[in-house]
Amino acid sequence: MNSKKFALFVLLGFAVVPVSQAQIKHVEMRVEGMT
């Protein structure tokens, strides 16, 4: 892969990743009344 293509790939990666990974990653609850 030449350097121009590589630079384009990196730039696109930075543009796409923040949106695609915006999400809930973990949920934790403490519950009462469980038997």
Binding site: P18, A22, Q23, I24, K25, H26, V27, M29, V31, M34
Partner: protein, 134 residues
């Protein structure tokens, strides 16, 4: 309760610890999980939720009233309750920078054994920890 939660959309796995009443939920990869729906599912299974924490990644914006909001995608966002940590997020408002937060979405009102769950009130995220700013 585990079955109730496991049937909710977006839920990958549910881990229940009977010893301390902790329930850990791992969302599917798309992260499209609905916390109010999870709260309702727990209540419908006959137990009450003392508190609910989430870890989420998204961008910070300000709504029309100037309050901070964590946006996760076009259909999901949470208003951020003001506290000391939320002040640190002010500078990120309306920027493309992503942030990973751990926060409390729900806490059972004091003094009530099993309060009626009001799903019409939007949940507010009380920031407990800013894990990552990018």
């Amino acid at each position: 309760m585990k079955q109730h939660l496991g049937r909710q959309s977006g839920v990958q796995s549910v881990d229940v610890r009977l010893i301390d009443g902790k329930v850990a939920i791992v969302p599917k990869e798309d992260g499209r999980i609905d916390p109010p729906q999870l709260l309702k599912a727990v209540y419908d299974s006959g137990v009450s939720v003392a508190e609910m924490d989430i870890t989420a990644r998204g961008t910070i914006a300000k709504d029309a009233s100037g309050n901070l909001v964590l946006n996760m995608n076009s259909s999901q966002s949470f208003a951020i309750a003001p506290n000391e940590l939320s002040k640190e997020l002010e500078s990120l408002a309306d920027s493309p920078a992503a942030v990973t937060l751990r926060g409390q979405l729900y806490k059972k009102p004091e003094g009530k054994k099993k309060p009626k769950l009001d799903t019409s009130v939007p949940l507010k995220l009380l920031v407990l920890e800013i894990q990552k700013k990018e």
